[in-house]
């Protein structure tokens, strides 16, 4: 198939899925099957773009001009390819999980759930493939709006309040900071196209560059750099599949993806390292890593702990990119992948525990590993990946980041990584420990069994992939090399 067709297909397939899902709304089985078929088709389409990209050919799709210079334009480059592969693949896994989870917990309005989910995936693919800031911004906003009904799925008062925080922070940051930053960039350079080597003149005033960089980083609220992280814990009121795919993978990764893409293709690392002191960004992300880890350590609610862990892991990606060394940027790309699989495993496990036991607190998990061994084994693997212990994918990415930091003797970054690894271990390992090695005080807790099959299957398969990625990281690594090869 020709590549332009493939790009449009990857954007239109989820939309087509919405049509099928709404047509099949009367029949739950048919509806779920259509979700699965569409997500498989999406994987096929996205992965067929892969060979071209690996060969250094970046397919483009030029849609139309809104006004002169405001163009809807897509281009598949290595970074976007990584993101699209991860998102589309996990959509399938997550759909299987959703079927088990939504049915077991007897949620209402499941058709709406699947429809908005497909819409969110379409927006994510749009973000991944966008070739300029304008296109990126459009899909960024779509993603915010399409995930709102998912976050507020339960329609209770508490959920609506959280939904307001979610929508408020994401929309406000994007309109108040992100959009002006885009327009300012356009004003200064006359281009908002993602260009290898950046769009800025190297004689541009360093102060302006630094200001713009900060406005971008905070304007992309989805990257959850403190203090604009509040929306992420709020979003945890959503059903677990939403937290798993959107708030561990699609939405937050869209945030860091945009940050990385802007640093590489709008500013370019060489401009940043020559003109300004990017240490500011290092300090900001470093602080976020530590503070979020400490909050995670102190939260008893499992999903909240995972949310703060996500916030700190996202800042790893920003920190790694801000080091501006090729090897650490490679680590950043790898970390996007590794964290996606690791964190989705953890969320899946949390959802499995909730489904069978209705427990949401860490302190209630004593002895849970005895009744749900597979789930907790997967949880343990996910935790290892978060901490960065081999043989998991998290080790590889952390290794590259650390190597980059050591190369340029960025001792601040090194110490942040070391301290936060300890903190990660401190808030994940106790869960694993008490689950397996401590007995529950309450007698009836011992009779729990595993969650329904689709749930256990998906939890376990993402955990396996976390390990497989450690041994075979070739494709993401190759893409990352392509990315830094052309830009640095």
């Amino acid at each position: 198939m020709n590549s332009q067709l493939l790009i449009s297909a990857s954007l239109l397939l989820p939309i087509l899925g919405i049509l099928f899902i709404s047509l099949a709304r009367k029949n739950a089985n048919l509806r779920e099957i259509s979700t699965l078929i569409v997500s498989m088709a999406l994987i096929y389409v996205v992965y067929s773009l892969l060979p071209d990209v690996l060969n250094g050919i970046y397919p483009e799709l030029y849609l139309f001009d809104v006004t002169s210079n405001l163009v809807i334009h897509f281009q598949v480059e290595p970074l976007g390819m990584v993101f699209a592969c991860v998102a589309s693949f996990l959509w399938l896994i997550n759909s299987i999980y959703s079927i088990g989870y939504m049915r077991a917990n007897k949620y209402k309005n499941q058709t709406r759930f699947y429809i908005y989910f497909a819409l969110a995936i379409a927006s994510t693919i749009g973000i991944a493939f966008s070739a300029n800031l304008f296109t990126l911004f459009i899909f960024y906003e779509f993603l915010t709006l399409s995930t709102y009904p998912l976050v507020t799925h339960k329609e209770t008062e508490e959920v609506k309040r959280s939904g307001r925080v979610y929508l408020g922070i994401l929309l406000a940051t994007s309109i108040c900071l992100f959009l002006p930053a885009i327009i300012w960039t356009y004003q200064l350079t006359g281009s908002i196209h993602f260009t290898p080597g950046g769009v800025f003149d190297k004689y541009e005033d360093p102060v302006i560059i630094l200001c713009l960089l900060l406005i971008f980083v905070y304007g992309i609220g989805k990257a959850a750099l403190m203090p604009v992280h509040r929306w992420l814990p709020s979003a945890m009121v959503a059903p677990t599949p939403v937290s798993a795919l959107l708030h561990a993978v699609a939405v937050v990764k869209a945030g860091v993806f945009s940050v990385v893409k802007i640093i590489i293709y709008i500013f370019s690392p060489s401009l940043l390292s020559n003109t300004i002191d990017v240490n500011v960004l290092l300090y900001l992300s470093g602080a976020t890593i530590l503070v979020a880890s400490i909050i995670a350590l102190r939260s008893d609610n499992l999903k909240r702990r995972l949310a703060y862990s996500t916030i700190s892991q996202l800042s790893y990606v920003i920190l790694a990119t801000a080091l501006l060394v090729p090897i650490s940027i490679m680590g950043a790309v790898l970390h996007i992948v590794a964290h996606a699989f690791g964190k989705i495993t953890l969320f899946f496990a949390a959802g499995a525990i909730y489904t069978t036991t209705k427990k949401t607190k860490v302190s209630q998990l004593n002895g849970i590993g005895k009744s749900m061994p597979w789930t907790m084994l997967a949880f343990a693997i996910g935790s290892l990946s978060m901490i960065g212990i081999p043989p998991t994918a998290g080790f590889l990415s952390k290794w590259f980041i650390l190597q980059g930091a050591l190369d340029i003797e960025a001792w601040f970054a090194v110490s942040i990584i070391v301290i936060s690894t300890l903190l990660n271990a401190a808030y994940f390992l106790p869960i694993v420990y008490v689950a397996f090695f401590r007995n529950s005080e309450i007698q009836r807790d011992r009779v729990y069994h595993e969650a329904p099959f689709p749930i256990v299957f998906t939890v376990f398969s993402t955990a396996c992939i976390t390990i497989i990625l450690f041994f075979f990281p070739d494709i993401p690594l190759q893409l990352a090399k392509l990315l830094i090869g052309e830009n640095i």
């Binding site: 139309f64 809104v66 006004t67 405001l70 304008f134 911004f137 459009i138 906003e141 507020t152 329609e155 609506k160 929508l167 408020g168 929309l171 406000a172 309109i175 108040c176 900071l177 959009l179 002006p180 327009i183 300012w184 356009y186 004003q187």
Partner: protein
Amino acid sequence: MITSQLPALQVILPLAAAPLCVILHHRTLAWVIALLVSIFSFCISCALFNQVLSENTITYAMGGWVAPWGIEYYIDKLTAYMLLIINGVAVLVLLGARRSIENEIASDRIYLFYTTFLLNLTGLLGVITTGDAFNLFVFIEIASLSSYAMISLGKDKRSLYAAFKYLIFGTIGASFILISVGLLYVVTGTLNIVDLSEKLLIADNRATITTAFVFFVVGIGIKAAIFPLHLWLPDAYTYSPSIVSTFLAGTTTKVFIYVLIRFVYSLFGYEFSFFVESFHYVLMVSACAAILYGSYLAIKQDSLKRTLAYSSIAQIGYMFLGISLITELGLMSSLIHIFNHAFIKVGLFLAVTAIIYSYNTDSIEKIAGLAKTSPFVFLLFIISGLSLIGVPLTSGFISKWYLIKASLEADYWILVFIIVISSVLAIIYIGRIIEAAYFKVSDKQTATVDLDKKIPYLLFVSLVFISCINIYFGIETTLNVDMASQIANELINK
């Protein structure tokens, strides 16, 4: 040849049709006549638009009396652009008007409504087309008097008070404009705008010209409802019949902003207005105040129409803000916003008209949960609402893009800040309405829909049209953006 008579026909057609409505004295026929006239009028404006694209300017000597003695109709790109907006809005409003008007105006007065509507249209079109300063005043009076009458037609007694308030303010404004025109006549001895602009350059009585300028600015400020001269607007929009609010919101203030642009650029001259009188600082401060004040108060209202009225005050601020930047890009962004906002606000007001028609309520509290019973109306409300906020791929985004770009280009940081703050406020006041309609639990009494009170078919069609316009001009902007850029270029570099 009929094509050479088009400028005159544009104004005379609705003027001649207005008495016809009175003579026929029939409510449905009056509606049909008004609708047909507005469609014809729209076609004429399209023809003029086309003509202007090839010929640049068209002049038409009324009654064969050549300017500067006779009254001249002067049509350039700016004129044609405004005519298109006003006529477009008129068609869309009239299309959906019939059932709502029957619902909100006493049945023996309905034909009067269409009469005054046509007179109002005549006035607005006249203000735009005429090239004669005194004739302009006459048309302003026609438009204003008819709008006072339209507002007072409502069944709600408060509409009388609103109309009276508007009458007082409007008359003061019109008198100021008249004084200004009089003073200019004293200095130059001419009333033709083109002629005036030439004579003003060589006139030596600067103090009188300055006085005329100040009178003009204050007068037009009242008419266009720029903060702090906006006090008549919230009541007039809230208590008049919904269709009247819709039409006023889409047209009146925009026409007066047009007059401001016309006078500042073509009559007083760009250098005089901005460099001698430093007029733009005044404009900028009041525009910023209007944006923040309007958006903030919009959040505080319970009435849907009042929310939209305060939002209009803010949006008028945007239009003035673009002008106050005194750059080509700034002027262009104002012109784009005049175009886009006309359709955005008409879309919102028409949706509210439909809500009032079905549920007989204007209160945000009482529309709780109604999205379930009339999903399409609220969907269309959301589309226009998103456009008002400035979400990408809607026309509002294009306006905002150019306005922010213009502010950045002129190095006014603070303005970018104000614009984005007000966008966030817009999210809140539109969001409140959407949240009430979609997420609040409906209370039983309002939620029961009368079956005959379903949204009228034509109103629905017109709403769909407007939503399409709002999206279309967010995606394909050749018509308005290119035109606005040409107009701005011509006005500034003349």
